[in-house]
Every structure is written in C-alpha cells, then in structure tokens.
C-alpha cells in the first residue's frame, strides 16, 4: 500500500455569508487549500432551518486538510469569531495520500 501521512481534517460549519472570512483565515494560515460543501438544512439552538438561499439563511461546510501545527494556528486565528459567529468546528486525524503537500 502507498505511504500515507497523518494530518488533521478540519470541518467548519458556518453561515454562507461568512465563508470568505473563514477561507481567508485558512489562506493566511498557509494551509494549501480548502473545499466548500453545500448544506441543506439543520437545527440548533435557534431551531430548525432549511436551505433558504433566498434569505441568505443557509450554511456551508468548509473542509480543510492541514498539518497539526497549521490546524492549531487556524483554530487560534478563528477563535475570536468562533463563538460570536456561531461556527461549529470539528477536527480529527486522517491518513492522507500525497500528504507532503499539506
């Protein structure tokens, strides 16, 4: 089997208007890239929502693969807006192929 390296996979759920702010932070943390996935609906403390792009009330999921240090730097960079803007951030270890890039 090909060689793999261990990296952090970070997933951030954010209001769609905030995506740019999050991806700018990823770029500034010198992480090699990011990928945004659409989200259809959800529910949290404010009750349920559907994907209502018409009202800008929808969310997106931003996913990024980074080394442990860069991931930590990203979390620190985002910390001021994590609570205030209601971001949901999870991360875990993954094996990556072609991992040198990350």
């Amino acid at each position: 089997m090909m060689e793999t390296v261990i990296r952090k996979r970070i997933e951030i759920l954010a209001d769609t208007p905030l995506i740019r702010r999050v991806t700018d932070a990823i770029d500034r943390a010198q992480i090699s890239g990011w990928t945004v996935l659409p989200v259809q609906s959800g529910s949290g403390r404010d009750g349920p929502w559907r994907e209502e792009r018409v009202t800008g009330a929808d969310k997106s999921l931003i996913l990024s693969i980074a080394s442990e240090e860069k991931a930590a730097a990203l979390v620190d960079a985002l910390s001021p807006i994590l609570s205030s803007h209601g971001l949901l951030l999870t991360m875990w270890d993954v094996e990556v192929i072609r991992g040198e890039r990350f």
Binding site: P17, L18, D46, G47, R53, V54, T55, G56, I81
Partner: protein, 327 residues
C-alpha cells in the same frame, strides 16, 4: 379601494402566496428547490430593473426623479431611528437586536414592491419606472444606520468597515437592479422588445411561483419561531402601517402621481429579508436571526402583501384625488 382589495384576493399572484402559507401550515412537504427560488429572484430583479430603465428612457429624467431618490435615501436612513426606539422600549430588545431589526425596516423588499406594482397596474395606477431606482437606492442606507444604532461609531476596525461597506453597496441585488436599469436605459424600447417575451410576458407567472415559495418559507419560519413575543409581533404590524403612511404622505407632498406615491409608501412599509439579513450575519452576528427574519419575513411580509398594499393604495388615491390620477 374595495375594488383593489377584491383584485388582490382574486389575483393568482396573491392566491399562490396564500397557497404557500396554507401548505406550510398543514405541514405539507411542498418545497421549491432553492436554486430555482434564487434564480426566480434574480429574474424578477433583472426584469423590473429593465422595465424601469426602459420607462425612464421613454419619459426622460426629471427633477422629480432626483427628489424622490433623495427622499428614498433619507427614508431608508431615518426610518430605522423610530423603529429602534420602539423596538428597544416597547419591544424590550437589547441594543444589538433592536439595531438589527431596525435596519430591516428601513430597507426594502423587492418582492413586496413587485407585488404592489402588479396590484397598482390592475387598478390602473402604474407607478413611474424610476421607482425601481428608488428601490435600489433604499436597500442599503438602512444597513448603515442600523449598525450605527447597534454599535455606535467606530467600534469596527477601519479595515473591516471598508470591507463591510463594499459588500453592502455591491451586494447582488443592488448591482443587478441598477445594472438592469442601466441596460434598460441604454437598450430603450427597441432593444427591450427582443427580450420582452421573456422578461415581460413571463413575469407574473414567475412571481406566482416565487410567492408560493415565500409563503412556504414565511409560514415554516413562524411555526418554528422560538424567540418571538407578542410585543414584537405587534411591532411587526405597526411599523409597516406607520412607515407606509409616512411614505404615502411624503410621496404625495413632493408631487408624485398616485401610483408612484403608493409605491413609495410600499417601499417605506416593506422590510428587507435578503440583503439586510446577509449583512447582519457579517456585521452583527450576535443579533438573533430568529427575531429579525421572523418579524420581517413571517409577519410584515404577509401583512404587506395581504393587507397593507391595499390600504396604502386607498390612502394614496384619497390623498392624490383626481389630480393624481391624471398624471
């Protein structure tokens, strides 16, 4: 007014809105794919922008237009002040939420405007084409004044503020409305003719489906609303009533024809549920969308569509009288 009311409730446009409300209340799973809803909203903006521009290309620019543009900008900037006072006092909201909600009521709702135009046209009172430019001009000043109310001057870093301003003034609906308006002015009636089967003939049908979706969204939101008090519900009806009257009076005072005065009243009465919520997510994330979206979308919007447009039209007719109709 009676006739206008009846026309309101036999127009497919309004009936589809009611169908949407109904379907959501009985918990049907009816839903419009949101890519389509987004597309319809872009279509509606492009179409009214074009038509407004063509109308101005035909009628030419006049002093009235400049006056009503300024009046619109002033209204958008100032109406949040009174709203803020009521929301903080009677409504018991904190500063952040009061400012966020106030911004919505100073700004405008494109679909409320479009629906009003349909009803005014059916009543033989089409508003001037330049009102589309007023609509676009009123979208954003309210955002600034709402933010000032919520946070005072200078709480943001300069960098963040300039980014914020850019986003506000170049938001999609302003660019599309003004852009299509300009295209309409350049292309003129001849150029418009080529595209009128799409942008003119199809308009009301698209509006039907769009209002069906708005009805679904509005009703679903209020059914899952948690943060709404009766005080806020009352304000969400009082504000469009009062702002609508202010708008009609001011519009009549500066000499607008009846249809345009009514349309201006509707703009003042309407509350944004697209541009402003998006701006609030960025600039006032602590404000609760459960409050501002529910008020503007689930109470004020239906109230305007079903009741207030008719009222405002009646008042405009009463004020403008036969003279107004002549213009």
């Amino acid at each position: 007014m009676d006739a206008a009311t009846i026309q309101t409730f036999t127009s497919p446009v309004v009936l589809f809105f009611i169908l949407g409300l109904f379907a959501a209340f009985v918990r049907s799973d009816l839903a419009i794919p949101e890519a389509l809803a987004k597309g319809m909203s872009l279509y509606l903006m492009a179409a009214i922008g074009l038509k407004g521009g063509v109308a101005v290309a035909e009628s030419g620019l006049s002093v009235t237009i400049a006056t009503v543009l300024l009046l619109g900008i002033a209204a958008s900037f100032l109406l949040p002040l009174s709203a803020y006072a009521v929301l903080k006092g009677f409504g018991r909201l904190n500063r952040t939420n009061a400012g966020a909600v106030a911004a919505h009521y100073g700004s405008v709702s494109v679909v409320t405007y479009v629906t009003a135009v349909q009803i005014l046209e059916l009543s033989g009172l089409p508003p001037g084409g330049y009102m589309v430019a007023v609509l676009a001009a009123m979208e954003t000043p309210a955002i600034l004044s709402g933010l000032l109310l919520a946070r005072g001057m200078g709480s943001n870093s300069g960098n963040e503020r300039s980014e914020m301003l850019r986003e506000v003034f170049l938001n999609a609906s302003v660019v599309l409305l003004l852009g299509s308006f300009a295209i309409g002015m350049v292309a003129g009636p001849n150029g418009f003719e080529e595209v009128s089967p799409f942008f003119a003939a199809g308009f009301k049908g698209v509006l039907c489906l769009f209002l069906l979706d708005m009805g679904l969204i509005a009703a679903r939101r209020i059914m899952s609303a948690r943060a709404l008090t009766w005080r806020l519900g009352a304000i969400a009806i009082a504000l469009p009533l009062v702002n609508g009257m202010i708008g009609v009076l001011a519009g009549t005072a500066i000499g607008l024809d009846v249809g345009s005065a009514a349309a201006f009243g509707v703009l003042c009465a309407s509350a944004s549920y697209i541009a402003v919520p998006a701006a609030m997510r960025l600039a006032l994330p602590e404000a609760d969308p459960g409050i501002y979206l529910t008020m503007s979308l689930s109470i004020t919007f239906p109230f305007n569509i079903l009741v207030n447009i008719g009222l405002i039209t009646a008042v405009a007719v009463a004020l403008g009288g036969p003279a107004g109709i002549s213009s």
